[in-house]
């Protein structure tokens, strides 16, 4: 495996994935593939429950490491969307790294993650 040199990329693919968050706070959402680097542009958390507030926890799991949260039990009010990550605080996922997270209640929160897959192959 080799992390791409982003000066010499051959492709940048735009991606968006969506997840219904469960109550296991360590559920893997996105894992950067081998020989790729992922640039995370935005993570939006929407509370689709019209009545109940819910809390989001999300973090990065470095390859072979443990989850370190960049958001811990942050309340997302009912019918609100929290911009957790945007272009001002985006980050890279190196190969094997992952984003993991969950919610305080099942069925309340969705995560929309927009990112770029950068490849130099």
């Amino acid at each position: 495996m080799a992390a791409p040199n982003i000066v010499n990329v051959t492709s940048i693919l735009g991606e968006v994935d969506q997840f219904a968050l469960g109550t296991t706070l360590t559920t893997t959402l996105i894992t950067a593939a081998s020989n790729k680097v992922y640039k995370i542009n935005s993570i939006n958390i929407a509370n689709i429950d019209g009545t109940n507030d819910a809390a989001v926890t999300m973090g990065i799991v470095k390859s072979g490491g443990s989850q370190i949260n960049f958001a811990s039990t942050i309340t997302v009010p009912a019918d609100a969307t929290l911009v957790l990550i945007d272009k001002n605080n985006g980050f890279y996922l190196e190969e094997g790294d992952a984003i993991a997270g969950g919610a305080s209640a099942t069925g309340d929160l969705t995560a929309t993650i927009s990112y770029e897959i950068i490849d130099d192959a």
Binding site: G22, T23, T24, L25, T26, N52, D53, A54, A55, T57, T73, I74, T75, V76, P77, A78, D79, A80, T81, L82, V83, L84, D86, G102, S104, A105, T106
Partner: protein, 324 residues
């Protein structure tokens, strides 16, 4: 931008949240929910003051809620608005501290008053009005039953005595709106005695029946308004045993099923009257929590994980069977 205090529907950035959080006006997801179960104190290698919580109807990972003022193994009682922790075997002695938190305010405990006798492993039973801390142990054994009026802070008052011999470490949380039950305990050997009081009348415990599987110590309880279930402990039926009683009728326990884990001495229990959760135990790192449906016998199902074992600590909730 919405007015502080809400409504909060809309699109938010973290920078917006920080202003509201600093102003203490950002909502907390768990405020006011009676469907929350709490683990309080206990020990894991050493005494702990951790309070953690989970939504009982959904399970999953327990989250940090706040801290007790002292680290140790006490009992707990709770209504739909308030959780009260009493006593504790603490490092170097025993505690008479009663402390509480409001379920609408996530955070640490506040002083409530004092028990009549400092002690720990004193299981709690309660209805909407009264909370009782029963027996206790830490080398010595106590037959003391203290009671408090949960809505009003103040010192505890003597309620009566447990059936001789004095016992510590029986089940927590087995109650209807009129009757509180303690199942098992030890002095120092395991007791199979089930005993009860009527909340409205002070007095001594009355014999209810026996734990059919044999004596059990440091077991846990969960209940609906009609059925009480004990689980675990180091009883003769094995560490994964569960049995139940019909609270309104005296008698011995009937087999309920088995937990998925057996290292369950010192486990804690909680319920929302429909589901019962049992978790933890004496082994460091034993944080697994099983779920049962109280009305239907059967084995436990792996359902959640606590942040610590809470061994010999207390479980509680705002919607157990003692509450109307």
């Amino acid at each position: 931008m919405p007015t502080p205090g809400g409504p909060y529907s809309g699109i938010w950035k973290l920078s917006d949240l920080s202003k509201y959080i600093q102003d203490n006006s950002w909502p907390t997801a768990y405020i006011g929910s009676t469907d929350i179960g709490y683990g309080l104190g206990g020990e894991e290698n050493s005494n702990t003051n951790i309070i953690d919580f989970v939504t009982i109807s959904t399970g999953g990972q327990f989250l940090d809620y706040g801290d007790l003022s002292q680290s140790g193994t006490g009992g707990a009682v709770s209504t739909s608005t308030r959780v009260v922790h009493g006593g504790g075997n603490i490092t170097g002695g025993q505690s008479n501290v009663i402390e509480y938190f409001e379920i609408a305010v996530k955070g640490n405990t506040t002083d409530f008053g004092d028990l009549t006798v400092a002690r720990g492993r004193d299981p709690g039973i309660n209805n909407d009005t009264r909370g009782l801390f029963c027996g206790g142990s830490d080398g010595s054994y106590y037959n003391t039953i203290d009671y408090i009026t949960i809505a009003s802070t103040g010192n505890a008052t003597d309620f009566g005595d447990m059936i001789s011999p004095a016992l510590g470490g029986g089940s927590n949380n087995v109650n209807s709106t009129t009757r509180g039950v303690v199942m098992g305990g030890g002095n120092p050997s395991r007791s199979d005695v089930i005993q009860y009081i009527t909340f409205g009348s002070t007095g001594n415990m009355t014999d209810f029946g026996d734990i059919a599987a044999g004596g059990s110590l440091l077991n846990a309880g969960a209940c609906s308004s009609t059925r009480g279930v004990y689980a675990g402990g180091d009883g003769g039926g094995g560490g994964n045993q569960m049995g139940y009683i019909t609270i309104a009728s005296t008698g011995n326990t009937t087999d309920f099923g088995d937990l998925t884990f057996s290292s369950s001495e010192g486990i804690i229990g909680m319920s929302n009257s429909t589901l019962g959760l049992f978790g933890g135990g004496s082994s460091p790192g034993a944080v697994a929590v099983d779920k049962i449906t109280i009305a239907s016998t059967g084995n436990g199902v792996d359902y959640a994980d606590m942040t610590t074992t809470h061994s010999e600590g207390a479980g509680s909730s705002g919607s157990h069977g003692g509450l109307s």
